[in-house]
Amino acid sequence: MKRLATAALSLAVFLLIWKAAVVIGGYPDYILPAPEAVLERGLRAIASGVLWEHTAATLAEVVLGFVVGASVAVAVGTALGKSVFIERALSPYIVAAQAVPILALAPLLDIWFGGGLLARVAICALIVFFPIAIATMVGIRSADPLLAEMLRSLGATTAQRTRLLEIPSALPVIFGGLRVGVTLAVIGAVVAEWAGARTGLGVLVLIANQGLFDTALMFVALATLATIGLVFYGLVVFVERRVVPQ
């Protein structure tokens, strides 16, 4: 209850600052719409079904991109953490892939993957991959060496050591990576949509901004993206609290 009240107070302060900026700055709606103008536009977009159509497309990309990206990242991160050879061989490519601006690469990925959902999931997964893979690698290596030695002396196999020691000790760090990754998944979906899509909140941002000159609708799309990010972040935290011993 206290947490909800804090969140509501924080939201109210944010809206007040926003409204004050509009009034003091004298901004017209096409430069910075007031919160109530965005709310009114959002209600119209919900009533017409436009918002849901685009939100559903982005949700699918975020969920699939995050699941695919996180799954591969945890597997690769585990391999990197357990083998110095694999780390030395793969790290330069992983870091280089992260350093390349995905915005520049996305249009090509869209063409290589033939457009469609597959291309967008691939772009999203690529963005999600890095923080989770690195977090997993660091987490795997954070296992207590004394406990590892003890398991070895008890005759535990590599798989048993991974399952009983390394993964449990890595979980807090992996969840740190998942928290970052899930917010990046939202950005990844938008980048993917900007590379080529017919629906999605990224597309709605483009249409509202460049096609309709409807700044309030653009803010509605941005607010929806922010909400998706918050909800998924909250879900990861929720799962973390149940999986990771506090």
Binding site: I24, G25, G26, Y27, P28, D29, Y30, I31, A106, P107, I111, G114, G115, E193, W194, A195, G196, A197, R198, V203, L206, I207, N209, Q210, G211, L212, F213, D214, T215
Partner: protein
């Protein structure tokens, strides 16, 4: 004066106070204005570069600062008075004005609509009704490319559901066409068509002018400036049109000015020159008219945009175009 303007004015005064002493070396008789060109420095903006370099603007009492901004920001900044003039698509002006953005189209730059459907040699039909079932690449559901595509489909008795549309928001639809992903693309006749011809060894066009005429890009200004200082607006229009006529008459003049403003030209001057020549043909259309606005063409375009549902008719045509009398 708003708080924003007061803050900006205070900042400018502070900067002035910090500047080295001595007499004011600027030329106070020149009125400083800002011109926003979309996209990025390009040979297609040669008339503006010529007007600036060859003194057309100075002769009109103007000192013009050229900046390049993304298309939607051009309309917003001009409407807000942060820039006096901008270049925008006529169809976007109709939509922006209908959305409550106080801008008007004040002078024509392109007598011919620059966007067309482009395909490999023989791929583009001459009758828009033959577009049914074809795959078409376009940057997205916005801008003059989208409006042209809808107008062409409408002219052929078709809708977007009758074709397969693939979107290329990064404007790389030429890659999609040459890659074989789509049969046709929307693109600029003076630029994309040349790139397609270069890559595929030939190309074919279905132009908007032939079947669904729409007004082309032009110069825009804000309501406030048009009302408060029509002489300034008129001076800018005339100087720009004069420079444009000079480039049409002497493309070398335009190319030299563009070379000084567009670093990318150095990479491939032959292509840039070809783009300039193709662009000059679009400026001229049937006959170059010194920036005059073709009311009949605008009415036709307005009706088409309304029929397509891109504007609702709540703002009258005469509120979208406004040229101060000479």
């Amino acid at each position: 004066m708003s708080v924003r303007h007061l803050a900006i004015a205070s900042f400018v005064v502070m900067l002035s106070a910090c500047s080295p002493g001595g007499p004011d070396q600027s030329t106070p008789e020149l009125r400083q204005v800002t011109l926003l060109l979309g996209y990025q420095p390009d040979v297609q903006f040669a008339p503006f570069y010529v007007a600036q370099r060859e003194g057309f603007y100075a002769d009109a009492g103007l000192e013009v600062t050229i900046e390049h901004r993304q298309a939607p920001d051009v309309q917003r900044l001009v409407a807000d008075g942060q820039a006096e003039f901008g270049v925008a698509d006529a169809t976007d002006v109709m939509i922006a004005r209908t959305a409550g953005i106080p801008i008007q189209y004040i002078s024509t730059l392109y007598r011919s609509f620059p966007v067309a459907l482009i395909g490999a040699e023989g791929a583009a039909p001459s009758d828009p009704s033959e577009l049914a079932g074809r795959s078409i690449g376009t940057p997205g559901r916005f801008g003059s490319s989208w409006h042209a595509l809808l107008a062409l489909l409408d002219a052929g008795g078709l809708s977007e559901d009758d074709v397969q549309i693939r979107e290329y928001p990064q404007f790389n639809q030429v890659d999609g066409l040459t890659n074989g992903d789509v049969e046709l693309i929307t693109g600029f006749r003076n630029n994309d068509a040349l790139r397609v011809a270069d890559r595929l060894g030939g190309m074919s066009l279905l132009t908007v002018d032939d079947v669904a005429p729409l007004p082309g890009p032009g110069v825009i200004s804000g309501d406030e400036l048009i009302t408060s200082d029509p002489a300034l607006v008129r001076a800018f229009i005339d100087a720009t049109a004069e420079a444009q006529a000079a480039v049409i008459g002497d493309p070398d003049l335009g190319f030299a000015a563009a070379e000084a403003n567009v670093p990318a030209i150095a990479e491939n001057p032959e292509v840039a020159r070809a783009v300039l020549e193709a662009t000059a043909e679009l400026w001229g259309g049937d006959a170059f008219a010194g920036g005059a606005i073709d009311q009949e063409l605008w009415q036709s375009g307005y009706d088409t945009m309304r029929r397509l549902g891109l504007i609702d008719g709540s703002v009258a045509l005469d509120e979208m175009i406004g040229t101060p009398a000479p």
